[in-house]
């Protein structure tokens, strides 16, 4: 059976090419349109994550949604629409009008104008429950696109005008192997149909087999290199076209804050036996449900640079079944979490963060990779411990093989209670007269400022204060403490202590490494008696001298 399919494939790739459209190099059935794919050098079969899937790889249609309008000029316009059914599939419709003028070929100049209508359907494998249980297969999309060429008019110098039409079909598969690495395959013009001309002749439609992959090297959670606000996507593709040699496409997309995109790619193109390798450059912009893309690329037919512009609209909630109010509406993964108590950029003093929310029915919630228990009303509440300093909270919704991440930044600051603050509160409570109160309030502001600084240093791990202990800013600092604070804050590399440092600083003294490094760096000096006196308070003179060395003057 495998041999049989292989034979069909080889036959398709070896179909004869007649000399009507093909001699001019025009290939109306393989439209390479869309500013984003072109910006990536046409290496889009292994990506196919937007509406352009309908043109490049219908396997990606399983996830496609929205409308796009792409145009080079007023005579070369492509409109695409993809509508999710809500059950892991999408239907798509596209119409591409093209007009080529003054195309040089061996017989002179050619002009072509036509419209190509595409009807596409892409789905996940959820209609095969036995297969869909397999996690790997949950990330496979398959699709087909029916293409109908309408009203093709071909004018060639010295020859009579021709008009014709025809149809064919593409089949595609997209496999999202992991969050960041995808594969795609698209067999285009699979049926090897013909374009029928009005003069009674016909010519074969060139077939193509396109194999591609894409990788999000840098990006969000799940990428090999995590970089917040940046995304680097690379794609590669090899195309076997029946009337050309194998073509290579390589491209990349750099995303900034999911808003701005820069694209570049090399796009081998074949025409009349020759292969060119031009460089395409593009850019894009996304804002909410809208987007725009622009590319400058080499148009192979006339071998000249052209601009292509695309406008996109991709509403988050756009599901057929929901509008039809089916009994069990599908869940759009982007809106799988109905509400959540988290907001980005949270500052807290609490050791634990409570995350409360509600999901849509059937959605599983994971917080920091752990499964949260959802109640019968689809609500969830989990408590996450917060480390001192920066914390990243990852919330993931999973639904029938689909998953989406949200991340929230939380800064946990250390809570410090100053002894002076407590005493001042008592004094304020018993203060008599506005002047006394005002004076105390002034002191309170100063103490508040000190507390903030202490909290910052405790959060950084420079100062250690146990939760139950009070910190007194008016207490004198010892030489050992100061050595530790300075060494920790300056990030000094601590030495291994394998012998007693001083008679009063034994090798197992908790501050020994800090004292050693402080003495080595000549920040603090031992006493003439040969001891370090770690518990002696630091004299003002000594402290000032130390901080002067760091460029800080009182």
């Amino acid at each position: 059976m495998k041999r049989y399919y292989l034979l069909i494939l080889l036959l398709l790739l070896a179909l004869p090419v007649s000399a009507e459209l093909n001699e001019t190099g025009i290939n109306l059935f393989n439209p390479e349109i869309g500013a984003r794919p072109l910006g990536m050098g046409g290496a889009f079969v292994g990506r196919a994550d937007d509406l352009n899937s309908i043109l490049y790889n219908p396997g990606g249609m399983a996830w496609a949604r929205g409308i796009s309008l792409s145009f080079r000029d007023m005579e070369n316009i492509t409109a695409v629409q993809a509508y999710p059914t809500g059950s892991g599939s999408s239907v798509g419709l596209a119409i591409a009008t093209t007009k080529y003028t003054d195309i040089a070929f061996s017989g002179g100049l050619a002009h072509s104008s036509s419209s190509l209508l595409l009807l596409s359907y892409g789905t996940k494998l959820n209609f095969l429950p036995a297969l869909y249980k397999n996690e790997a297969l949950q990330q496979v999309g398959i699709g087909l696109t029916l293409k109908s060429l309408m009203g093709e008019t071909l004018r060639r110098s010295g020859q009579s005008d021709r008009s014709g039409g025809g149809w064919d079909m593409d089949l595609g598969v997209l496999w999202k192997r992991s969050d960041w690495w995808w594969f795609g395959l698209s067999a285009q013009n699979l049926f090897g149909s013909q374009i029928s001309w009005d003069v009674g002749t016909a010519e074969a439609i060139p077939s193509a087999l396109r194999l591609g992959t894409s990788a999000r090297i840098i990006g969000d959670i799940g990428s090999p290199i995590f970089k917040e606000g940046r995304e680097l996507l690379i794609g590669g593709e090899i195309d076997f076209v029946s009337n050309s040699s194998a073509l290579l496409r390589l491209g990349g997309e750099l995303g900034i804050n999911k808003t701005y995109f820069l694209r570049a790619g090399i796009m081998q193109q074949g025409r009349q036996g020759a292969v060119t390798t031009p460089l395409n450059l593009g850019c894009g912009y996304r804002s909410g449900e809208w987007g725009a893309d622009l590319v400058i690329y080499r148009e192979p037919l006339r071998d000249e640079s052209q601009f292509y512009f695309s406008i996109l609209y991709f509403p988050k909630e756009w599901v057929v079944s929901k509008k039809l109010e089916f009994e069990k509406p599908g869940v759009v993964i982007e809106t799988a979490i109905e509400k959540i108590s988290l907001a980005d950029n949270i500052t807290t003093y609490d050791e634990n963060l409570e995350v409360v929310g509600r999901v849509r029915s059937g959605v599983e919630v994971y917080v920091n990779g752990l499964r949260a228990d959802t109640a019968a009303d689809n609500s969830f509440k989990v408590i996450i411990p917060m480390a001192l300093g920066k914390n990243l909270v990852l919330v993931e919704a999973r639904y029938e093989g689909e998953k989406k991440n949200w991340k929230y930044k939380v800064l946990r600051k250390a809570k410090v209670q100053l002894a002076e603050e407590k005493a001042l509160k008592k004094e304020l409570a018993s203060a008599i007269g506005p002047e006394a109160k005002a004076a105390l309030e002034g002191q309170a502001a100063e103490i508040e400022q000190s507390r903030q600084k202490v909290e910052e240093l405790v959060t950084l791990g420079v100062i250690e204060v146990t939760p139950e202990a009070e910190f007194s800013v008016n207490a004198s600092i010892t030489r050992g403490e100061l050595a530790a604070w300075v060494a920790k804050s300056a990030g000094m590399k601590l030495p291994k202590i394998d012998r007693d440092l001083y008679p009063d600083v034994k090798r197992n003294h908790p501050l020994a490494p800090f004292i050693k490094v402080a003495v080595d760096w000549n920040i603090l000096r031992p006493f003439p008696d040969g001891n370090f006196h770690p518990d002696e308070p630091v004299s003002k003179e000594e402290g000032d001298w130390l901080f002067k060395r760091f460029g800080v003057k009182k």
């Binding site: 499964r371 949260a372 420079v462 800013v473 207490a475 600092i477 804050s489 901080f547 460029g551």
Partner: protein, 296 residues
């Protein structure tokens, strides 16, 4: 009078001395305080250094340092040590008791467990059935972390392996999932049919023991009958085997059924088939066969 005056002088003198010495101590203390650097001063000065300023700037920045290493990986979910289901093979009869046990634990201790649930929908029962650790309803000991549940398999359940997912939630909202499987079978299995001795003299006296070892889904008590067809040996077509420790059966109540018989003198020598049929209360049936060699 003089003594009183003297005492007054002494008191004044002592108080004055006390006052002077107190002031001196206070002054010394003040001097000492101003002589040494306080922690507050050290904090202020340290915060003014370039390296601390940079660190604090980075700490308070929302665009630096929030990477994957800042995701807490503390183990918060409860753990399921094991799930046990007894018996492993059960008939879909709606009456055989199936006991499900889940041994669970939690990083914050067993008191943090908020509930253990099993999804019994695959055996025709409720999808959200609670297991208990209260020493009741089949649970052996309260508070030992082994949650138990007793149920039966619905008559509508089709034979085959059926998954039973178990979920454990804790009071902090975390969930752990695991599953076990239950083999739903109606028919008993004949493990072994043995005739001892397998070659017998047709003398009408030599004892022969037919022993059948059975694996019945559910309980052995639910085996309805174990019968042997000894018609070929000139005996009954439906000879009942026993599991009561008598008539050739060694032990009552085990999984072995036996019968004692002898072969009639008139029986010609040869090899004779002995068919065995086992039926159970669930309507299941199993058939097996062996042969016996008769000598003259």
């Amino acid at each position: 009078m003089k003594l009183a005056k003297l005492i007054n002088y002494l008191i004044v003198f002592w108080l004055t001395g006390l006052l002077i010495s107190g002031s001196a101590a206070q002054a010394a203390k003040k001097a000492e305080a101003s002589q040494y650097m306080t922690k507050g001063e050290a904090v202020q000065l340290l915060s003014a250094t370039d390296f601390v300023k940079q660190k604090i700037g980075e700490l308070l920045s929302w665009t630096i340092g929030y990477d994957i290493s800042k995701v807490s990986r503390v183990r918060l979910t409860p753990t399921i040590n094991y799930i046990k289901v007894l018996p492993k093979r059960v008939p879909p009869d709606g009456r055989t008791i199936v006991e499900l046990q889940a041994s669970v634990d939690d990083p914050a201790g067993l008191t943090n467990i908020s509930g253990v649930r099993a999804d019994l929908s695959s055996i025709g029962r409720l999808p959200n059935t609670m297991l208990v650790d209260n020493g009741l309803f089949g649970d052996k000991k309260a508070g030992d972390g082994i949650y138990s549940l007793q149920t039966t398999v619905s008559l509508r359940t089709l034979p085959g392996n059926r998954d039973i997912p178990v979920a454990v939630a804790n009071k902090k909202g975390w969930l752990a999932l695991a599953k076990t499987s239950l083999d739903i079978q109606k028919n008993p299995n004949i493990i072994e049919i043995r005739i001892n001795p397998d070659t017998v003299l047709a003398d009408g006296a030599s004892p022969v023991t037919l022993t059948v070892r059975i694996d019945n889904p559910g309980r052995l008590e639910d085996v309805r009958a174990v019968a042997a067809n000894l018609k070929a040996l000139g005996l009954s077509e439906r000879t009942m085997l026993k599991n009561d420790g008598s008539d050739g059966d060694v032990m009552a109540g085990d999984n072995t059924w036996s019968v004692l018989f002898s072969v009639a003198k008139e029986l010609p020598a040869g090899s004779y088939p002995v068919a065995v049929e086992v039926t159970n209360l669930a309507g299941g049936i199993a058939n097996g066969q062996t042969t016996i060699t008769v000598n003259k």
